[in-house]
Structures are given as structure tokens and as C-alpha cells.
């Protein structure tokens, strides 16, 4: 195994499905073991890709178990937003009232002085 063969060994798991390029590609053309290695990696990537379409059957009763474990109904988005609006509005009223009181108090003190 020469330096180029070692470089191929490092490159193939890195490039994935892409082809090796440049001097490495030229080397593969002339080296039978490397050509075989490229082919084996290519087959491996194709088989991994194919797994995406393979499905395995969930155990019987799986969907029923999911539905039994759902718990309370999910809160719809608009209700969730409404829930947040009330405390936010209340906080805004309190903050405005506090600021107004502070200003009035300062004016009263300035006036008294």
C-alpha cells in the first residue's frame, strides 16, 4: 500500500457519496485495490440510502398505547396566546399606574417645596 492508497482510505469515509477528485481520482483509475475499495464504499452508501425506504412494523397496540398516554388536550395556539395576554396587560396597567403615581408624587413635592 503506497501513500496514495492510504490517502484513499482516509478520503472515502469523508467524501461520502461524492466521488474522489484530482490526484486521488487519477490514482483510483490505475489501482485495482483502491478501485475495489471505492466500489465497496459506494455500495455501502447506496444500501444506507435504501434503508430510508425500509419500514419495520410497530408492535400491535402501539398506536392505542400512544392514544391512551396522550393526557389532556393540547392547548391551541390562540388560547395559549390569550393566556399570556391577560397577565401581560395586567402588568402593563400596574407599571403605568406606578409610574403615574411617582410623577404625581414628585410634582406634589416640588410644588410643596
Amino acid at each position: 500500500m503506497n501513500v496514495m492508497c492510504s490517502a484513499i482510505q482516509v478520503a472515502l469515509p469523508t467524501v461520502g457519496e461524492a466521488a474522489v477528485t484530482g490526484p486521488l481520482a487519477a490514482h483510483v483509475e490505475t489501482c485495482m485495490p483502491c478501485k475495489g475499495e471505492v466500489l465497496r464504499y459506494r455500495t455501502m452508501y447506496r444500501e444506507l440510502n435504501d434503508l430510508d425506504r425500509a419500514r419495520y412494523r410497530a408492535p400491535s397496540g402501539h398506536a392505542a398505547a400512544v392514544m391512551n398516554g396522550l393526557g389532556p388536550v393540547a392547548v391551541p395556539m390562540h388560547e395559549s396566546r390569550m393566556d399570556h395576554r391577560v397577565p401581560v396587560a395586567a402588568a402593563a396597567v400596574v407599571a403605568t399606574a406606578a409610574a403615574g403615581t411617582a410623577v404625581l408624587f414628585k410634582l406634589y413635592r416640588d410644588h410643596a417645596a
Binding site: 469515509p13 469523508t14 461520502g16 430510508d52 412494523r57 408492535p59 400512544v66
Partner: protein, 191 residues
């Protein structure tokens, strides 16, 4: 009658109804996606019982998060993300109960006995590659599965597995190399 009506709905209609808390609509989504989610869970957990727990938990999490589903990604992609996060949580919990430092050496025969749901498709996928995948450690296998089977990007993998992009790349490189050698061993053994 109501169930029949829900069964005939398009995916987008089911999602909209489920977002509003419609259990029948969500049940239909579960029925349509359960095998796909279970398959991913098996590939991550390497154990049929754990995978069933993970996929059930993933659907429960999805139900709770339905109002937040914006539809930027497909429902199946969203479910995959939730499944990966759930598997990660289960894995951490499981690790606390049963320490398994030699994870990479353990092999679960369970996965080899799974029944393919669509015989034609599953038959086209190599049982050898599935068996080889199951021999990788969880941390390596999850990266290889998400990248080379489900086509996730390095950054998506890094984000969902809570690792750096560099770590994801390093694990992927190591995983592919290990897988390549495992395949040699399995094919030699089969001959």
C-alpha cells in the same frame, strides 16, 4: 362515521385539526407515521422494547407540542427530530440504570427479527447493512443513521445530539470506516 371522515383527510387538514386539539385527527397522524417513527427508534435504540417506549413517548411529546408546529418542515421530519431528542433522553436515563461502557461491542439480535411492514421495500434493503449498523455504538450509530440514512446535515445532527459540528464529522468518519470493516466481516461470515 367521524373516524371514517378523519381517515379520508389530507395530511395538512389532519395537522390543522390536531393543532386545535382534535384527538381523532392526531390518532390518524399516529396511525400513518407510527411505523416510520418506530423504525427510526429501533435504529437509534437497537432494542425493540426501548424503541416502542421511545416512539410512544415521541408521539406524546408531539401531541403536547402540536400547537407550536408551524409547518416549516414536513410532519414526518418534525417527528424524526422529536424522536431523536426522545431517544437521547431515554438513552441518558437508561445509561443511569445500566452502565454499558462497552456499548460498541454489544450486538442486539432483536433488530434482525423485526417484521418488515412493506415486504417489497424492506427486502430491497440489505439485512447485512442493518446488522452492521446495530454493532456500532449509540453515539456513532446515531450520527451515521441520521446522515447517511435520513440525510440530515452536519449542523442538524450537531444541534439535536447536543454535540459540535466537528464532533459530528469526526463520529461520521469513524462510523463509516467501522461500518465498512464490519460489512467485510459479516459478508465473510455469510459465505
Amino acid at each position: 362515521m367521524e373516524r371514517e371522515r378523519v381517515e379520508s383527510l389530507q395530511p395538512q387538514e389532519l395537522i390543522e385539526k390536531a393543532k386545535l386539539g382534535d384527538r381523532d385527527a392526531f390518532g390518524q397522524l399516529v396511525a400513518r407515521h407510527q411505523h416510520e417513527v418506530f423504525t427510526l427508534a429501533v435504529r437509534l435504540m437497537r432494542d425493540r422494547d426501548l424503541a416502542a417506549d421511545v416512539s410512544q413517548d415521541a408521539f406524546v411529546r408531539a401531541w403536547r407540542a402540536m400547537p407550536k408546529f408551524r409547518g416549516d418542515a414536513k410532519f414526518s421530519t418534525w417527528m424524526h427530530r422529536i424522536t431523536v431528542n426522545t431517544a437521547w433522553t431515554h438513552r441518558a436515563k437508561h445509561k443511569r440504570v445500566r452502565l454499558d461502557p462497552l456499548d460498541s461491542l454489544a450486538s442486539e439480535p432483536e433488530a434482525a427479527t423485526l417484521d418488515p411492514v412493506r415486504a417489497g421495500e424492506a427486502a430491497s434493503a440489505s439485512p447485512t447493512i442493518e446488522a452492521a449498523l446495530m454493532q456500532l455504538s449509540f453515539s456513532i450509530r446515531s450520527v451515521v443513521v441520521l446522515k447517511d440514512v435520513y440525510g440530515w446535515s452536519h449542523s442538524e445532527i450537531a444541534e439535536h445530539l447536543d454535540i459540535s459540528v466537528t464532533a459530528a464529522k469526526v463520529r461520521l468518519h469513524r462510523g463509516r470506516k467501522e461500518l465498512r470493516h464490519l460489512l467485510d466481516g459479516l459478508q465473510d461470515g455469510a459465505q
